[in-house]
Structure formats: structure tokens, C-alpha cells
Symmetry: C2
Subunit: 233 residues, 2 copies
């Protein structure tokens, strides 16, 4: 009997925003695995820390942030091998994943390598988009609104077209693209309706009008635009 | 001292997919409020049922599903008045909301009527999109993918343009629009990559290839399309 691979969505950062199912899976796991930047504490592990039983076997997957994808892929190859060993030995492995595993989540890299060989379960998590929307107190989509989720690095013209088409827009991975994104929104007269959110639900959470957002922004930042074109009252 | 208005996201239906924070808020509330179709049991209440303390005051907001918006708006006017009375009396009110309150959630109608007068908190929930993606075992977005969330009633030509532009697409509120949506996806050769999901995470969950989806589909159904244009390995 091989073990079960469980991708556990941890939500945006506040441990209370884990689901009951995620909390139970972490508490019951014989082995936990999680990514970390080399030489730093794992953000995923910090969210789940209070639930990890003492003495549980921990597999740390050190994933370097480099321009080339190769070093990260090699790290996931190695991590997947170590997770596979535990699964082969009949142990269940809970893989800790910030946010939602299938919404830009790191778990996907293990899923791609292991799901065809082992029983797998994915526990969804609160996305950063839901968390940010709650944090700013601004409804995101209602009725027949459409939502566009866009990555910051996207080409400006393409971004502009998607923004024009949707009623609500979430721009993720803002980072060093902030000034360019702000220009796109300025041009369309949307700056006043755009909010900048950094590390939603954590103690370091920052919410700013887009005009006051730091440039460059950190990687874990987001811009939300609600155009309110659909009156929902 | 007036009470606090709390919009509680309950997630897609499996009670284990409530967050720890939501479970705590429901257990601690002096008053709970929730919508229900007239004459039927509330779906929101059924998700939270095991956490509702005996003797808690319950405000049922009976919301008719009609073509005109007016009867539903009148129901929310009345519901908001009753919630406001409890808040004025110093009681905290937890408003139960399926999914995520600010992602097509019913809580928004109370939020619009009460948030400017009372202290308000929103607890985000797992969206149906995250739940469906986990249920079908198909990663939704990775790296610099874009996601389009579209309502089923949307015009076919506009829907086609949004589908062409995004790497992943979630079409909600499919209902009687199923045949038309299927035609849009067929035309673009995307039927094989599209999955139909009904009532994700509930006992009645159904997952089907789009070609086998029921027509008309129930209101709580979704089509997910992952085009996989961005190789994430």
C-alpha cells in the first residue's frame, strides 16, 4: 500500500484562513513537504506551524528564484523523488502550499511529477484575490460581471484590452512592473478605482491607493480594479 | 455600542471547506442571518448547520428568484432592516454566505445596505472555481497564465473573444445556456479540454466531459477550460 499525496491549500497567510479540512490533513500527516527559498524560513510552513505535530518528518524543497526555469525544475525533480520515497513507504504526505494549490500554486510542480503514480487529493485554499477583496472591503464581482485575472509581466497593450473588457480585474505578481501597470490604468482613467494590496491578512498587510503604491512593489502584491459598471443594488 | 456585521464565506458546500475563522465566527455569533428561496431550506444554513449553537436567533431572508430584480431587492431591504435592528441592539450578526462573500456572493446585498452604518468584517471563502478545479484534478493557472471568469448568460461573440484571449476559463451560471456555450467551445476546438462540474464537493457532485453535460444544466454548474498553452513543467 502506497501513501496518499495531499496538496494542502493554506490560504493567503492568516492561519485562521486555513480550512477545517486543511488543518485536519496537516495534523494527521506522517510526512509534510513544503517549498522554501534557499537559506530562508518557508512561508508555507510558517502558516501551518501551529498544526504540525512534533517529530513529523519534514521534506524541505529548496527552490531557487532565478531567471531560468531550470534550477527550480531541478529542485522540484529532487523534491518529487523524496516525496515519492515516502509515498512508496506507505506514508501519506501533506504538501503545504500557500493560497490555492491550483491557482498559481507551487504544488502543481509536484502534482505534475507524481499524480499519475500515486493516489492524490487536492484541498482548495482561499486565494489571494478573495483575501485582498475582503481586506479592502470592496465587492469584486456580482450578477453577470466578468473577472480578469492577469499577471503583472503581461504586455501593456494586451493588459489594456483585457482591462477594457472586464468589469473587475485582479493584477497579480506586480513587483517591478508597477509603474508600467499604473500607466496602463492611468490612461484609462481607472487609477481612482484601483487599490494596491500587499501581503493581505498578514500582520504586514498594506492597503494603499494605487497612486501611493511603492515602486518597485514586492512580489506578493496585487492591484484590484472594480469598475462597478454593473449596479448591483 | 452597536454590534458587528460579519459576512461569513462558507465555501462551496462541504462543511470541512469552511475556514477556521468562519467556523469560529458562526459558533460565537449571537445572531445569524442567511438567504433562502421561499419555502425551501437554506443551502447556506445547511453548510453551517453543525456549528450553529442551539437557541441562536436566526434571521431568514427569503429571496425570490424572479426575472425582475425588484422582489429580491425588496427582500434584501427587509432583511437588512432586521439585521440592523440586531446590530443596533448591540448584537453581532454573522451572515452566512455560500462560496466567497465578494465573489458573486449574496452577502453583497446586505453589505451595500449596512456597511456604511456598522462595523463590518468579511471572512473570505473558498470559491466554486477553486473547488471545481480541485475536484477535476486539473491545475487552473500557473506562471503567467491569465484566467477569465465569465457568466453563462454572456453574449456568444463576446464570450468567444474572452475565451480566445485567456489561458484558462471558468464559465459560471451555466444553466439554460449550456447548448449555446458548448457551441462556442466546439467552434474553437476546445470541447475535449472542457469539463462540466455540478455541485462540487457535495455528495451530489457530478463531473462530466462537456459533451455529456445535461441540457439545461442546473444553476450551480460550471464549465472549466484549461488550454494548457503555458507548459509549466
Amino acid at each position: 500500500m502506497t501513501g496518499k499525496l495531499i496538496g494542502v491549500g493554506l490560504g493567503p497567510g492568516d492561519p485562521d484562513l486555513m480550512t477545517l479540512k486543511a488543518a485536519r490533513a496537516i495534523g494527521a500527516a506522517q510526512v509534510i513537504a513544503y517549498p522554501a527559498l534557499p537559506g530562508t524560513a518557508s512561508f508555507a510552513r510558517s502558516i501551518a506551524a501551529d498544526l504540525i505535530a512534533p517529530g513529523v518528518h519534514e521534506i524541505v524543497i529548496e527552490v531557487p528564484m532565478t531567471k531560468s526555469r531550470d534550477p527550480a525544475q531541478a529542485a522540484y525533480d529532487l523534491g518529487a523523488e523524496r516525496v515519492a520515497e515516502a509515498l512508496e513507504a506507505g506514508q501519506d504526505v501533506a504538501v503545504l502550499c500557500e493560497g490555492d494549490p491550483f491557482f498559481y500554486g507551487s504544488f502543481m510542480y509536484l502534482y505534475a511529477r507524481l499524480a499519475d503514480r500515486f493516489e492524490t487529493e487536492v484541498i482548495p485554499g482561499i486565494t489571494s484575490v478573495s483575501a485582498a477583496s475582503a481586506a479592502i472591503g470592496q465587492p469584486l464581482v456580482a450578477r453577470n460581471d466578468t473577472l480578469a485575472v492577469l499577471p503583472g509581466p503581461m504586455d501593456s497593450d494586451e493588459m489594456a484590452r483585457r482591462i477594457d473588457a472586464a468589469q473587475a480585474v485582479a493584477i497579480l505578481k506586480v513587483g517591478r512592473h508597477l509603474a508600467r501597470i499604473r500607466e496602463v490604468l492611468d490612461t484609462r482613467g481607472l487609477t481612482a478605482q484601483a487599490r494596491y494590496i500587499e501581503r493581505a491578512t498578514l500582520a504586514e498587510e498594506r492597503i494603499l491607493p494605487l497612486s501611493e503604491a511603492p515602486d518597485p512593489a514586492p512580489y506578493f502584491s496585487m492591484i484590484l480594479v472594480a469598475k462597478g459598471s454593473d449596479p448591483w443594488l
